[in-house]
Subunit: 307 residues, 2 copies
């Protein structure tokens, strides 16, 4: 796509390209080397992945790589891997023992549309498929690059990243004893739960492009600030938006006593903090000049989105 | 270890070496690049992984690689990755919505010792850590080898392998409508649920050793027969052994109406089939001569083990 294409069309175009890759890997027929694909499990995985979504993480990866001059078809496969990882986390997060949600993107969650065991297994298989796509030879010609992507994805999504953040989030509800989170605790929780994978989406673009250390550090700073802005925007939406626009039950985080920066800072100060983070994200891109315009718009989009 | 060391001492020695690697990666302190490690989550992961076990998959990997002349320290890390993957599958398999087991290796299962949400997250984080270890530079100097290991692990453990087999296993209980599995259905289910990861353990040794195609095909045949023999041995144990020796509730599979080859073939014929598979496994190793002696003993050990 040419740089002058409006941002939302660009985002939608990337989503369609990534969905074609997802569709291919989530086909009902077994691929070479597989023994069989149980139809119920494939159906649950397809429900989890192919029911819409902005595909923001793949978009960030594709645009970061493009900015650094890497436009190979493999970026779509790496983007699809990020999306599979993200979707697995939503399936497990929605489970009765976790957030116990009935709706996701306006449709029944996987354990409601299928059943709990199927949802657990669908999430597990989506995680494995995410790593398979990342390591697959079609993602990048250099095996060391592919391995680096796998390590980065595992760290961003595991014990010290996303899953660790989900654990802290449950603890913040008071499940495991009294919990009173300060501003810094909340920032750390969110940097793990949502920030790490968003930041890695940008970093992955730099890994694919085999960018130099200076470019990588700038993109890491961008990714971190973007991830933090994203989370405040999410918390503001949870407070303000209607269930219809979000396609999931809103206000629910508050009910459960989940602490957010909006609670700690108040609405006005939280909005200011979100805007400050967007500026910080954009400033991190200064060294890239006009080539970074799409990522700058993306940072603003992430922060002021309505769903 | 020298080849003349008795098999059980050799198995125990490999287990200790792999456990040192597991211990290091499951340390309580965050590693560089991680934001934090929530203590509850680390504790649950350690409970799942460091509560004993034969470490059979790492052993098969280490011995296959050694037979092919590859004895680098990285094999232990690749073996540890297999064990993490296996342990995550046990944690999720034990969940109330799945097999609903209270005991594993004589200790409370993770959701009994902690809680259900923690068990879901611990399994998820163990899977991510498995892929991280496999892709980590310390596993092998060649990035293409590491990526091939990741792809193989993902396929063996995902939709068309282990997780797919777990799905078929639940369906075989009649959860999703009437189910009457024939001998071939059961063989396929088991080839996916337990066979695929066992066979990959051997294949991973060949990948690490960058073995030629002929050697890889022989090891694949060995791994497939070994995996099938393992599962019959498991079903025979479930029928015969006491709860004490297995460290988990036995006879339970039967109660749930899970179909096994022992049911279909009868005890005597199942034992003969197990022995036939061990012979088939050993025959696949003919081309390797005496170098394959440890793997031959391993095949017999797997088939006649008492726990």
């Amino acid at each position: 796509m040419a740089p002058q294409i409006p941002f939302e069309a660009r985002l939608a175009g990337a989503a369609r390209s990534v969905e074609r890759v997802l569709e291919r890997f989530l086909a009902e027929d077994a691929r070479p080397g597989e023994i069989a694909r149980p139809p119920r499990l494939v159906a649950a995985m397809r429900h989890a992945v192919l029911s819409g979504g902005k595909r923001l993480r793949p978009f960030l990866l594709v645009e970061s790589a493009r900015m650094l001059g890497h436009e190979e078809p493999g970026v779509l496969q790496a983007g699809a891997a990020l999306e599979l990882l993200h979707c697995y986390s939503l399936v497990h997060d929605d489970l009765p023992a976790m957030d116990d949600d009935d709706l996701r993107r306006g449709k029944p969650t996987v354990h409601r549309g299928f059943d709990e065991a199927t949802a657990i297994l669908a999430g597990d298989a989506l995680q494995a498929l995410a790593f398979e796509l990342m390591a697959d030879a079609a993602t990048h010609q250099d095996g060391a690059v592919r391995s680096e992507l796998v390590v980065g994805l595992a760290r961003a999504s595991g014990l010290g990243g996303m899953v660790g953040g989900q654990m802290l989030d449950l603890a913040a509800e008071g499940r495991y004893g009294a919990s009173a989170l300060g501003e810094n605790d909340i920032r750390r929780l969110q940097a793990m739960k949502t920030g790490a994978l968003l930041a890695f989406s940008v970093e992955a673009g730099a890994i694919l492009a085999q960018a130099n250390a200076a470019a990588r550090i700038r993109l890491e700073d961008f990714g971190r600030a973007l991830g933090a802005a994203f989370q405040i925007a999410d918390d503001l939406l949870d407070r303000e938006a209607s269930t219809a626009a979000m396609g999931k039950s809103t206000g629910k985080d508050r009910e459960k006593g989940k602490a957010t920066l909006v609670d700690v800072l108040g609405l006005e100060e939280a909005r200011r903090e979100r805007d400050r983070l967007v500026s910080e994200a954009c400033a991190a891109l200064d060294g890239f000049g006009r080539a970074a315009d799409v990522l700058r718009v993306a940072a603003r989009f992430v922060a002021v989105r309505k769903s």
